[in-house]
C-alpha cells in the first residue's frame, strides 16, 4: 500500500515545517523577546546536523562491530546499510540512539551558542549580528572542507533510527518531529509568559532599567543565546535524521538564517503563535511553488526557483513597509495584577476598555 499524493505532500510540508519551527521559535526567543540579533542560526543548525553526521554512525560501528577498521567516511554507504539491518529489528536500540543523538545535539548547540555569546556579548546591534554571521559561515566552511566531520563536499549518510517503521518511515519521523515541536512550543510559551519572560522584554526594551532593578543583563543574554542555540541544534539534528544524510553545502546562510528571519518577521516578533503562523505560511507557499513548478515552467524562460526567491523578497519588503508588527502583533502581558486592575476599572467605569 502506498500513500496518496496529498498525504505525501502533507508529510513533506510538515517535515520541513517542524525543524524550521524549532529554529524560528528559538530566534523569536532571542530577537523577539530579548532583542539579540542572532544572524548566525546556521551555526547551531549545522552544529546539530554535523553531530548527527559524525556520531551515531561511528558509535553504532563500535557497538555492533560493523566494518571495524574501515574508514566511516570512505565506506559510508556500505557501513550505514549494514547498521540499518541491525536497527530495523532492534527498536529499543534505535530509540536509545535517537535519544542520545538528540541530547548530544542540544549539548553541542548550547556549547556553540555559549562560545559565540562570550566574545559577541560585549558588542551591540550590527557588530553583534556580524559576529554571529561570521561564526555560522565559518562552521559551514569547516564542514565543507573537513570530510571527517560531515563528509565534506560529498556529504555523509546517517544510520536510520526509524528503519523499523518500514514504508511508514517518513510519516513516523514527521510525527515524532511534531511531537518534539509541540513540547518545545509549550515550554517556550510558558517560559515567555512567566516572570522570566517579562525580564527578557525588560532587557530588550530598557537595559538600564533592568540593570537598575538588579538584573544581570549580560548573563541573561548569554543564557538566552545558549538555550536558543540548543533548541536550534535540535531542529538541525531532526532535519538531518529525517533526510537521512548530512551535507555541509545544504547549510547556507540564506536558507537557515535569512529565511527564519523572514518567517519571524512575517509572523510577528515576540509572539510565539504569530511565529508559528509565519513559519507555516512561509513553508507552505514555498512548498506549493515547488509542487506546481512544472505547471509554471513552460510559460517562463527561466528556472522557476528564482521566481520563488523574488516573491519572498518582495513579500518581506511589503510586510516591513505596511505591517512591520507582523501577522499577529506582540500583545501586552496579562499578569494577575494587570487583570485585577482592568477588572476593577471596568466595574467602576464601563466605558474604559481593558
Amino acid at each position: 500500500m502506498t500513500l496518496p499524493v496529498e498525504a505525501l505532500f502533507l508529510v513533506d510540508l510538515m517535515s520541513t515545517f517542524a525543524p524550521y519551527l524549532l529554529v524560528t521559535l528559538s530566534l523569536n526567543l532571542e530577537y523577539g523577546y530579548t532583542g539579540v540579533p542572532d544572524f548566525g542560526k546556521t551555526l547551531a543548525v549545522a552544529g546539530g546536523a554535523f553531530l548527527v553526521g559524525y556520531l551515531p554512525g561511528r558509535l553504532l560501528m563500535q557497538l555492533l562491530g560493523v566494518g571495524l577498521g574501515l574508514s566511516y567516511v570512505e565506506h559510508n554507504a556500505e557501513i550505514v546499510t549494514k547498521i540499518n539491518e541491525f536497527l530495523r529489528v532492534n527498536v529499543p536500540l534505535s530509540m536509545a540512539v535517537l535519544a542520545l543523538t538528540l541530547a548530544l545535539a542540544m549539548v553541542v548547540g548550547a556549547a556553540l551558542g555559549f562560545l559565540v555569546s562570550h566574545p559577541a556579548i560585549r558588542l551591540r546591534e550590527i557588530s553583534l549580528a556580524m559576529v554571529f554571521l561570521a561564526a555560522g559561515e565559518a562552521l559551514v566552511v569547516i564542514g565543507h572542507n573537513y570530510p571527517e566531520l560531515a563528509g565534506g563536499t560529498l556529504g555523509i549518510g546517517v544510520p536510520d533510527v526509524f528503519a523499523w517503521a518500514g514504508e511508514y518511515r517518513f510519516p513516523m519521523v514527521t510525527a515524532f518531529m511534531i511531537a518534539v515541536v509541540v513540547a518545545v512550543f509549550i515550554y517556550l510559551y510558558l517560559l515567555t509568559k512567566s516572570p522570566l519572560g517579562r525580564l527578557l522584554r525588560a532587557v530588550r526594551d530598557d537595559e538600564n532599567a533592568a540593570l537598575a532593578l538588579g538584573k544581570d543583563v549580560t548573563k541573561v543574554r548569554i543564557k538566552v543565546i545558549t538555550l536558543a542555540s540548543a533548541i536550534t541544534a535540535l531542529g538541525g539534528a531532526l532535519y538531518a535524521i529525517y533526510t537521512g544524510s548530512v551535507i555541509a553545502a545544504a547549510y547556507q546562510k540564506v536558507s537557515w538564517t535569512f529565511w527564519p528571519w523572514v518567517m519571524v518577521i512575517l509572523g510577528g516578533t515576540a509572539n510565539n503563535v504569530g511565529v508559528v503562523l509565519g513559519t507555516f505560511v512561509f513553508v507552505t507557499v514555498r512548498k506549493l511553488i515547488i509542487f506546481y513548478k512544472d505547471a509554471f515552467a513552460p510559460y517562463v524562460p527561466f528556472d522557476v526557483v528564482w521566481l520563488d526567491m523574488l516573491l519572498l523578497g518582495v513579500a518581506l519588503i511589503l510586510i516591513l513597509l505596511y505591517r512591520p508588527e507582523g501577522l499577529i502583533p506582540e500583545k501586552p502581558i496579562k499578569t494577575v495584577a494587570v487583570r485585577r486592575v482592568t477588572a476593577a476599572l471596568k466595574l467602576r467605569e464601563p466605558g474604559i476598555k481593558g
Partner: protein
Amino acid sequence: MFIEPIYKDALVFSSLLSLLSLGLTLTFLTTRIPNFAHGCFATVGIYVALTVHKVFKADIYYGLPLAFLLTGFLALLQYLVVLKPLSRRRASVITLMVATIALELILLAVLNIYADYLARTFKISSRYFQLRGADFQLAGERGLLFVAPSLVAITTLLLHLALTKTKFGVAMRATIENPDLASALGINADLVYKVSWFLAGGLAGLAGGLLPLWFIGNPDTGDYMLVSIFAASVTGGLFSIYGGLFGGFFVGFVEVLGTGKLALSVGTWIIPYRPIIPLLAMVITLLIAPRGITGIMVSRVRFKWIRVWRWTG
C-alpha cells in the same frame, strides 16, 4: 620583470574589494544602514560587462560608465523606495538590515533570471564565466593589473578633494558628524544621503564591471564576496570614510597572500578555508578595536580631549 602571480592576484583583488567596501562604508556612515545587497550591486556590474562584451560585441571598458550609472540608479532606487520610508519611521538598524537582506534576495533572483535569459536567448555561457581574453595588454601584463589600482587611486584622490575642497563635501562631512545640527544649518541632508547611495552603487558597479576580466563571474559572485566586503569595512573602520579603502587593501592582501603563503608552509589543504580568513580578521578587529583600524587613533585623540576638557572644566 617577474612578479609572482599571487601578488598580482592580491593587488587586483584588494583594489576591487576596496572600491566595494568604500561604498558599503559610505552608506553606513551617512544613513546607518548595513547594506547586505551591496555584493549584488557588484554582480549587476559583472552582468553589464558580460552583456556589453558578448551581446553588443563592444570593448569591456566601454561598459564601465553604463555599469556605474545603472548600479548607481539601482542603489538610489533601493534607498528611495524601501529604505528611506523605513528609516523615516524610525525603524531599528536590525529592521533596516533585514530589509536589505530582502533586497539582496530580490537582486539575486533577478540576476539569476537574467543569466538564464542570456543563456537561452543569446546562447552565451552566463554562469561561471570569465572574460580574461577581453582585456588589453600593457608591458606584457593584462591591463586590469594597472587599471584597478589606478581606479582606486583616482577615486581616493577625487573623494579627498571633494570632501575637503568643495562645499558639498564639507556639507557631507557635517551630515555624517551630526545630521540634526547640519539640517538646522540649512544643509540638505537628504541630498547627501541620495548622493552617497548613488556613489556607493556606482563604485560597486565599476568594481563588478572589471571583475570578470580577472576572476570568475556568476550570479552569486557578489553575494559570495559580501562577507569579505563586510570584513574589509569593519576591519578598516565603519566610522571613517577612508576605513573602507584601507580595510579593502588590508583584508584583500591578508586573504590572498595569507592563503597562498599558508598553503606553501602547511599544505594545500588550507586553500578551501580561505573564506575564514576575512571572518577572523573581522571578529578579531571587533573584539580588540570595535571601531576598526582607522578608529584607533581617532578614539585616542578624542579621549585625550575629553580629559583636557574635564581638567579645565
